[in-house]
């Protein structure tokens, strides 16, 4: 790995020309917290790489801006940058919370938001939250640009729709309109530097004692971060009482098992997913903990 070439383009155009230059062994690096560790461990996902394009110095891929009810986060923005941003702390608290649970200060100072979902590990902590917020991503190539929902972009564990001549340039998160309450939950083996075993992101809006809108997404317990549109539709319009909240939690557990199949860990994870989901719903609807 020592003799790979590393190029640091200053503009997106330069970076796109590099990755379209015909070298099949070219890859993109930002924070490097997955790439460097993966290459060192001989992961086949990074096998054959002989050149890396460092996108940390491309202005178009940095920064956080809010306009027209949409927060645009540069693809190469670090988690530390996101956590310290006032708009995100105020308007997208679940995202701030999820970013704050990633790795350690050292990791968050380097690791980037696009790195998290382009790598697309099942346990990627920002993915459930970004899904719950209905995020879309912007992708550019020399041929032009395309925008698509994050949910469509993510295909399978460690696989996305990104083509080899494309770079994710930003992620757009629409500010939830309405009176949403919700939370992000992460369970790992310890509180810091832990690979998530269960993550849940949840947003719920109550209108006149009924569930007006519901958004639930999971990570780590599903092969990739997953939104549960079916459950959301099933329960929207229902009375927001304890019985309904319990039914939602119960359905979520069943659905997770349907997606992943029964595993050795299901006996533990199923009740935990259901109980956590119920607690999160309860706190969102009634306030306080249960």
């Amino acid at each position: 790995m020592n003799n790979i070439e590393i190029t640091i383009p200053k503009t997106l155009q330069e970076a796109l020309e590099l990755i379209s230059g015909g070298n099949e062994g070219i890859g993109i690096i930002a924070g490097g917290t997955d790439v460097v560790a993966g290459m060192r461990q001989g992961s086949n996902r990074f096998g054959g790489i002989n050149q890396l394009v460092d996108v940390n110095h491309i202005k178009e891929m940095k920064g956080i801006t809010g306009a027209g009810g949409i927060v645009t986060i540069g693809a190469a923005e670090t988690f530390s940058g996101i956590i310290s941003n006032k708009i995100i702390r105020k308007e997208l608290p679940l995202l701030a919370k999820a970013c704050g649970t990633i790795g350690s200060v050292q990791i968050r100072n380097r690791a980037t938001i696009a790195g998290n979902f382009v790598n697309n590990a099942p346990c990627a902590d920002t993915v459930p939250v970004l899904l719950a917020y209905d995020s879309t991503i912007e992708i550019k190539s020399l041929a032009g640009k395309r925008e698509l929902p994050l949910a469509e972009f993510l295909k399978a564990p460690y696989r996305t729709q990104l083509n080899s001549d494309e770079i994710v340039t930003s992620i757009k998160v629409p500010l939830p309109k309405g009176d949403f309450k919700g939370d992000f939950y992460k369970l790992g083996r310890r509180r810091a530097v832990a690979i998530s075993r269960i993550t849940l992101a949840l947003l719920i809006e109550i209108k006149e004692s009924r569930i007006n809108r519901l958004r639930i997404a999971s990570g780590a317990v599903t092969p990739i971060g997953t939104r549960f549109n079916g459950i959301e539709k099933e329960f929207e319009g229902k009375t927001a009482d304890e019985k309904t909240l319990k039914a939602i939690a119960s359905r979520l557990g069943e659905r997770v098992i349907e997606v992943t199949g029964l595993r050795w860990s299901s006996e533990y994870k199923l009740p935990v997913v259901q109980q956590i989901c119920y607690q999160m719903l309860y706190s969102a609807v009634y306030g306080g903990g249960k």
């Binding site: 020592n2 003799n3 590393i6 917290t33 460097v36 790795g103 350690s104 200060v105 050292q106």
Partner: protein
């Protein structure tokens, strides 16, 4: 091979290296700065923590070819001659050093914290060193040392 120029412990340096060499190897092998330790090599233990543009990073996850123009500070930059930095002195005085392997990284994480937040509370200190594993002290003495340093620096600056 590339001709790499960056700032190391306050001085401009240049070095001939392969681009894919990790920062930790560059520091130890090319500059003889062996205060930076390698533990896990995958960003979990924090023994290799250095400051990159004033922020704590794992030097096992940064490649030489990514450094151009960066400013790197290692544990060797903290003491002024024979005079230890207050963090180093307090680590010794509070018994926060046993085997010492985690100490350089731990001190640099604490240094970065105090640089940004001169009066951290206990939770903030815990958060700042959550990425630095210590298997000897049990962390209590480390927390005490950082708190004592913050108090000391704050009373000096009054």
């Amino acid at each position: 091979m590339i001709n790499l120029k960056f700032k190391l412990n306050g001085e401009k340096v240049s070095v001939k290296t392969e681009a894919g060499v990790r920062l930790i190897d560059l520091l130890r092998n090319n500059f003889g700065l062996t205060g930076t330790k390698e533990g896990c090599g995958v960003g979990e233990c924090g023994a290799c923590t250095v400051l990159m543009n004033k922020k704590a990073v794992n030097s096992c996850l940064v490649l030489a070819g990514q450094l151009a123009g960066a400013s790197i500070e290692t544990i060797e930059s903290l003491a002024e001659g024979e005079m230890l930095h207050p963090l180093q002195r307090n680590f010794l005085e509070h018994g926060a050093v046993q085997c010492g392997y985690c100490t350089p990284g731990m001190i640099l994480s604490a240094y970065a914290l105090l640089d940004e937040n001169p009066s951290p509370d206990e939770e903030e200190i815990k958060e700042a060193i959550a990425g630095n594993l210590c298997r000897c002290t049990g962390y209590k003495q480390i927390m005490d040392s950082i708190k004592a340093t913050a108090d000391e620096l704050n009373s000096k600056n009054k």
